[in-house]
């Protein structure tokens, strides 16, 4: 048995106005200064007030939010006592909002104890609305929460199916001002979700179609959104792709590029989408040496040359590298600016972090510690994975 979870989703140009339908007393908006600077926090509060809700906001979410930030936000929630929590921003703001909401409902919990194995008993005090302002993480429709344990240089994969948002609002007008680099980084995160969600051993009939559709949209529209951000259609299709990919991998699982990307992010603070997009060709090459089937299916769906499964996987890797090139993204860790000595010096930490991600054991081929180390080294200088 398995579950398929999704919030109610309002999407498309103008979807943000759905906030006017909100029923309640008081909302608490979790966001950051950048998003506020773009005027989106104010717009959200304006819509909420038209629905008759008072609101207050917390704008101190940093990229890769820490356990401490989440504790502070939860204290502010307890003081304000809202009946809606609204996460507004990129993945960091949305994940922080999910975690703060859980702690508001369950002040007895520590953030690192938010786990999917025990009932949490949420929705006694409030419900959650998620509104993405990037097109990538899919955090608006997933229950996973990624927080950073700053003392341990480690990203923590937390969350419970219960902390999935009640409502997700996916309005492309919120992502149209993203600068090109952020467009590329977040778009590649969406692509990685789609491809890993399809290939993961937890993939299922309910998640497959979402992943394939999302992959197709990213390959078609991400270059346009990157090269000319004013392209309304490209922005809208990318916003949809990110949410579809979130639903896809959120109801399956991500894979090894995410394990390595989280490990790298914990130690070297590389932006999430850039890291997972960089690792993806390597982790596909590695898996396809033994299990090419699912990648062949994706390649066929995308209309790439795939008469043999192994050939399909190779075409997919090639298409992925072409896309990275077109988006002027780094293809190696050296190009990211990590020198080999630092990589080797922190290798034990990277391996320990990556090995203990659930995404490692659902990848189509499970890497040993030794293979993981070789994958990091291949990704450093761009060597082909030949093991």
């Amino acid at each position: 048995m398995w579950y398929f979870d999704t919030p109610m989703i309002a999407f498309g140009e103008g979807a943000l106005a759905h906030l006017k339908e909100t029923e309640g007393r008081r909302a608490f908006v979790v966001s950051d200064e950048n998003v506020a600077g773009l005027g989106f926090v104010e717009t959200v509060q304006e819509y909420l007030s038209r629905a008759g809700l008072e609101s207050e906001c917390f704008l101190s979410v940093e990229p890769d939010p820490s356990l401490d930030t989440v504790r502070r936000g939860a204290r502010a929630l307890m003081a304000y006592e809202p009946d809606w929590v609204v996460g507004l921003g990129g993945g960091s703001c949305l994940d922080a909002a999910k975690a703060m909401w859980v702690l508001y409902e369950r002040p007895d919990l520590e953030p690192e104890a938010i786990n999917p194995l025990e009932p949490l008993g949420l929705r006694q005090k409030a419900r959650l609305i998620t509104i993405p302002t990037t097109a990538g993480t899919g955090a608006e429709v997933t229950w996973m929460i990624v927080l950073t344990d700053a003392d341990d240089d480690r990203k923590l994969g937390l969350g419970s199916r219960e902390n999935l948002a009640d409502i997700a609002i996916v309005d492309p007008s919120l992502s149209k001002d993203m600068p090109p680099r952020l467009t590329a980084d977040t778009g590649l995160d969406a692509l990685t979700h789609a491809l890993e969600g399809y290939a993961a051993s937890w993939a299922n009939d309910f998640s497959d179609g979402l992943c394939l559709k999302a992959a197709d949209l990213v390959f078609r529209y991400l270059p346009q959104a990157y090269e000319d951000g004013t392209q309304g259609e490209a922005r809208e299709r990318m916003a949809n792709a990110a949410t579809l990919a979130g639903l896809g991998f959120g109801n399956s699982m991500a894979g090894l590029a995410h394990s390595m990307g989280h490990a790298l992010g914990g130690v070297f603070h590389t932006p999430h989408g850039r890291a997972v997009g960089l690792f993806l060709p390597y982790t596909i090459e590695y898996a396809a040496r033994e299990k090419p089937q699912r990648y062949g299916e994706i390649a066929r769906h995308l209309g790439l040359s795939a008469d043999l499964e192994s050939k399909g996987a190779a075409s997919l890797v090639r298409a992925m590298r072409d896309l990275l090139g077109r988006l002027e993204q780094p293809l190696t860790l050296a190009e990211v600016g990590i020198d080999r000595e630092s990589l080797v010096e922190r290798m034990d930490k990277l391996l320990d972090n990556a090995a203990n991600e659930a995404t490692t054991v659902v990848h189509p081929r499970i890497a040993s510690m030794d293979e993981l180390e070789r994958l990091f080294l291949c990704a450093w200088d761009g060597r082909e994975v030949d093991f």
Binding site: Y3, A113, L117, L158, R161, A355, E357, V361
Partner: protein, 135 residues
């Protein structure tokens, strides 16, 4: 073939764990003992308790506990026979089993969620024990 959940099975499981280099590597910092509990049903009038003490990549002790009060392990994972069988046959991912409450787990969840790789290697060890299930 060894009957599942018996003392002989627990000892064979311990032997496989201590033979596994992959487990030793993945669990080198793990400290914590378990009761794996097979819930009572038609084959078992009483639940079966298999005790396993795992420490820094090795299994220090394993036995079937006739009286579960002899140990007070920090983790208890319980489920019906059919689900254990599916895990050992590798048709049920144990983490998916936990997420869908086909297994119940008591203990420090933070600690267990940080030991995914070790858990997976442990399951690989059970698959190496020639196990006979009641028909």
């Amino acid at each position: 073939m060894i009957d599942f959940g018996t003392d002989e099975w627990a000892k064979a499981f311990m032997e496989q764990i201590n033979r596994s280099e992959a487990y030793a590597e993945a669990a080198k910092t793990w400290e914590g003992d378990f009761y794996f509990i097979i819930e009572s049903e038609e084959h078992y009038p009483e639940p079966l308790h298999v005790y396993v003490d795992l420490w820094h990549g090795v299994c220090r002790e394993a036995f079937a506990a006739a009286d579960p009060s002899v140990k007070d392990p920090i983790f208890r994972m319980s489920g019906p026979l059919e689900n254990w069988r599916r895990v050992i046959d590798k048709t049920l991912d144990p983490l998916q089993g936990l997420l869908t409450r086909q297994f119940k787990l008591q203990g420090d969840m933070v600690k267990i969620m940080r030991a995914v790789k070790a858990a997976q290697e442990l399951v690989n060890c059970t698959a190496l024990v020639p196990t006979k299930f009641p028909e």
